[in-house]
Symmetry: C2
Subunit: 110 residues, 2 copies
């Protein structure tokens, strides 16, 4: 079940990854699980949020303490393989945006 990460006071970074999946699994689920295992071990990782609708369109946002932390995860060897598989097999279309979070607020049920 998706949930809300506890992020610190801004500024910090967000990687907004929007994608539409291709049909079929093609190894996606196993790799996604491996990435979710790996990413919390990364220095500077603050959390992630993810949602995908029944139409195959999904958004994953990961939060990072610094540009260096993001660069380090981007260059992680297993993650590089996942990125290549994503381009080749899993995503019909994706957009990735790197953004600096400047303000944040929220509301949780009491």
């Amino acid at each position: 079940m998706s949930s809300f990460p506890k992020t610190p006071e801004p500024p910090y970074y967000a990687v907004i990854f929007s994608s539409r999946r291709t049909l079929g699994d093609n190894g996606y689920d196993a790799m996604a699980e491996r990435m979710l295992e790996l990413v919390p071990q990364q220095p500077g990782f603050l959390g992630t949020e993810s949602a995908r609708g029944e139409d195959g369109f999904g958004i994953t946002v990961s939060y990072w303490s610094s540009a260096e932390a993001m660069a380090c995860w981007k260059a992680n060897m297993e993650h590089v393989v996942a990125q290549e598989m994503g381009k080749a097999a899993w995503y019909e279309h994706y957009e990735l945006r790197v953004a600096k979070v400047e303000r944040a607020y929220g509301k949780a049920s009491p």
Copy 2:
């Protein structure tokens, strides 16, 4: 069906809205439709992406040309009513983050 907005070269702004819905509609669908009708009329609006999974967790990202454009939409009277309804009835929990997009790239099927 959700899709990918055509955003310009960075920099521009992103509002990342993560939420978990309460049970029941409570007028949500009609208001969401009205907001989707209203928001493209806003000056500085660049596009929006949205995904919600079966577990009720969703992410909507809207893109804006400037901080002024975001502030103007936040203060829109009908949108203010929607924000209050959201707090009171539609969202069990939400987090809103305002971020400045610094880099962007993607891949679309040929």
